[in-house]
Symmetry: C2
Amino acid sequence: MADKFYSKENLRFLLHEVFHVEELCKREYFKEHSLENFDMIMEAADSLSTNHLRPILLEMDRNPPYMQNARIKVHPKMGELMKKFGEDGWISMSVPHEFGGQQVPFTILQATAFIMAAANYSPMAFAFLTTGAAHLIEAFGTKELQQTFIPKMMSGAWQGTMALTEPEAGSSLSDIVTSATPTADGHYLIRGQKIFISCGDHDACENIVHLMLARIEGAPAGTKGISLFVVPRLRPDEKGELVLNDVNTAGLFHKMGYHGAPIAHLIMGEKNDCRAYLVGEEHKGLSYMFHMMNEARIGVGMSATAIATAAYYNSLDYANVRLQGRKLTEKDPLKPQIPIIHHADVKRMLLFQKAVLEGSLALCLQACMYYDNSKTLEGEEKENNFLKMELLTPIVKSYPSEMSILTTSAALQVFGGYGFTKEYMAELFFRETRIHTLHEGTTAIHGMDLLGRKVMLKNGQATMLLMQDVFIDIEAAKKFESLKPYAEALEQKLTQLQELTMRLMGVAQKHGAEIFLSDATLYLELFGIIAVGWQWLKQGVVSEQEKTSSSKKYSAEFLQSKLLTLHFFFEYEMPKTEGLLTRLKSKNNVTVDAKPEEIV
Amino acid sequence: MADKFYSKENLRFLLHEVFHVEELCKREYFKEHSLENFDMIMEAADSLSTNHLRPILLEMDRNPPYMQNARIKVHPKMGELMKKFGEDGWISMSVPHEFGGQQVPFTILQATAFIMAAANYSPMAFAFLTTGAAHLIEAFGTKELQQTFIPKMMSGAWQGTMALTEPEAGSSLSDIVTSATPTADGHYLIRGQKIFISCGDHDACENIVHLMLARIEGAPAGTKGISLFVVPRLRPDEKGELVLNDVNTAGLFHKMGYHGAPIAHLIMGEKNDCRAYLVGEEHKGLSYMFHMMNEARIGVGMSATAIATAAYYNSLDYANVRLQGRKLTEKDPLKPQIPIIHHADVKRMLLFQKAVLEGSLALCLQACMYYDNSKTLEGEEKENNFLKMELLTPIVKSYPSEMSILTTSAALQVFGGYGFTKEYMAELFFRETRIHTLHEGTTAIHGMDLLGRKVMLKNGQATMLLMQDVFIDIEAAKKFESLKPYAEALEQKLTQLQELTMRLMGVAQKHGAEIFLSDATLYLELFGIIAVGWQWLKQGVVSEQEKTSSSKKYSAEFLQSKLLTLHFFFEYEMPKTEGLLTRLKSKNNVTVDAKPEEIV
């Protein structure tokens, strides 16, 4: 097993030099923090990941959850881990002081999540799902709900979940039918089913607390009639003792990877005794949930990047030690074989991974910084950062997720025939990351979100603001002779993207939503490549500055590797925009025009 | 489970209308065959696949092979199946009459292999690996070897294997170290190890016969010192009874898919009693093996196409029945949900699969026809067909294999969250097909084969001959108004490809082999897209002809679906050549220039 699963140096480079995360400590909300403090948190995440998460990755993969007596059993270490996540403050790190948390920036939370997910994705999900669920109660719940649930969740004793999906309501959330009937006692009674509930039942915690969407009887149809409830598996009775709350585990979904975390099928209210506590106001559930969805979506991009990063270092390690073949110019078969990293195509497969992953990580952190700025700045700046974060979110969710399928596949390919076997972990990462284009909205959903909503958000203000940030980095890059051609290439791509967007807005007006959005997935892909090109330029500027700086904080190899990878991205990845632009500009509406019966 | 795993109609369309497989029956060697006969063979393959192979696909996936008492155990049905493969003549179908076979064209063999692999890839591998191994004994073995081994192999009693790879000799076959020591009795004694031997040990046959590469003591280094041997697990003694031949199973490789077939690690000669029988002449083993490799490589392309085809029909079936969401223009949430096949992005994911798969299948059959022509025509035509087959082989091996990763991923995506679970079979196909870019030469090896050898084979004659065939189809397509734009687009792409090739030949002369071949994988990808575009044009011409033909052999929907998919290929896939051309024309040798220590 490769020891290295992420690069500490790269994460520090991004947080310190590229994104200046210490700027956040100037804000009132983060004033108790410092760069040193952030570094200590990173060290702690590294230690936790190295000593507790990574060592059980293979075990978890080989021993997936199972059902026993209508309950789900998970890996026996998960109980200890949840306690540790609670005691050491991981679950509560981003929670406000008033709820017992450390008020750590979202950027730092995500950076630690990156380290943990690179080590072992599943346990991290138990912890941060709980954080996400608790955030909803903090933000919208009553004092009583907060007091009852938050401390238990923060301690790791109670698992939190997001219970949205139903058998007939996946991408189409407006079709939720789980019902909530009000009672004279103030609580509601839930009846219905939920599927695909991550950590929806297991034996590593005392209790499971579902943040669940349901429709109050008589509510309006569609998205405007959905309310948010707290629905615990066990509810505290009058004496504070936990009693069964009529939430039953109907099944466990067996999956191709991500084996450490159980995905449950739940049935509520079979005995008409499933009590639920309304969060916030009636019928506003979906807006509350969306309030938290940006965080969750950025988290998915980060997790995909993390798993793919682990796959990269695994393959890099192998490429450096596996001997096979000789230089093409070496004709003597008696000469010793060379490490495969010397072969151009192996270097291509490695640099492809590195270019995509370090670009994705930067893009995720960029969105995190916009997020933290939107929470802690004031007035126009607050709003502007919020708009940029909103615009970037579908890209940050999707580019890393889609690309991680290809990069983990490239990592597997580096191993040759061994890649298909379980001798190394290449096949595990390839399976593990495949969830990410599906959960928290499929790629198609995010394509439509980007092109159909975000690009024209506030009459295109979000886009304009983001472009301003990109142009600042382009101008900075033009000052370096080595970066100028790439700065100009990116400038040209931005122009093409803007022209395309205008053209598509014309299509929307002239031909309607269906044709307008028919290739939204490709538009998302195009925007993603350009956005990651931007992040490479940004990293290029800092690398050039650091090369001549006296601080010598980064080794010459590290900085050279950054610039090399930037070249690779612009030489191998950026050209992919050409075919996408051609297709997106075409007037041939093949897919919309195709009748379902013609697809045979 | 979706019932349909391939399209009978499409296979018939390709064999009858596009490739006129009946032409082969005019050749002396195939004179006992007829189109009716071929159709009967297809029907038999369909029946075998539907009734015996498909029903155990899931079982085989869930119950992979395991070791017991130093032997490998496979699915209990495999024994019956091998008997059936033998008795019903599947193993011997392409074998000459003189060895008890039916002398069926390779094209027909591959068409049946396609059906079987679409149903369940693993059992098919047991059968056709045996055929391939027997072919080597037929072609190069002594009468005695032929009499001893071929009948047993044809009956399915004895498994045949190809034993090439060693721990330190995978892609670099010249590094084989397994040794063969001559004895006074005529046989050799083998010592060494082989890994990744498909069906290299199992309990479904009485015996396993390895066609094994080894180095005779004192042989020249490198590829010129490798000989081919028959090495049975059990050898017949003087009385004809089977005794152990000192071939031991050291291990079983656990894999991410393709679970029905065991991949073994073998150790020979631990007791210095592993007898081997030389096939053909000393030191010519690799050339014999290469003689059979085109068949094996075309077979890999066919299998990748087959698995991905099964994934396509699985997802198509789901898309037609799964209700989710409404038309984008429908704002009433009380209207019933619609089948997801109505959504443009779902149609895109389906047409992407169909365009790639039916194009791949046509390309594979094209190579098969060249193969059969090269075996049964005379003089220049024989040679010309051989050259075209040689040129196409790396593309036929690689394009379907690489693309099947993406198409099975698209199929999985159609299922939304269910795609990641084991509820449907989407995740199985995604795992199953991942072997194909690895075995029978990795994609990188085929890229170098194409650009470094095949494109300039006989001073470029192979390329010229293939281009002539493509231009015939382009001219035919230009006669149809509907196809003309695509014919012109393909013509332009061919010109660009030729210009690029000339340019790269200049690079080879000026900068040497390493820079020349550094992006051979991308060149292979480019050539593949263009070659499949050609196959779509060919199918387009026939579809247009059939539309107005009085025969009405194909439904209007089928022909319309063909033309729709052709449009899709040229609209969505062909543009991908643009970015590839840009990269391949670049003078920035990023990967060759990158030092291994700069990839961190």
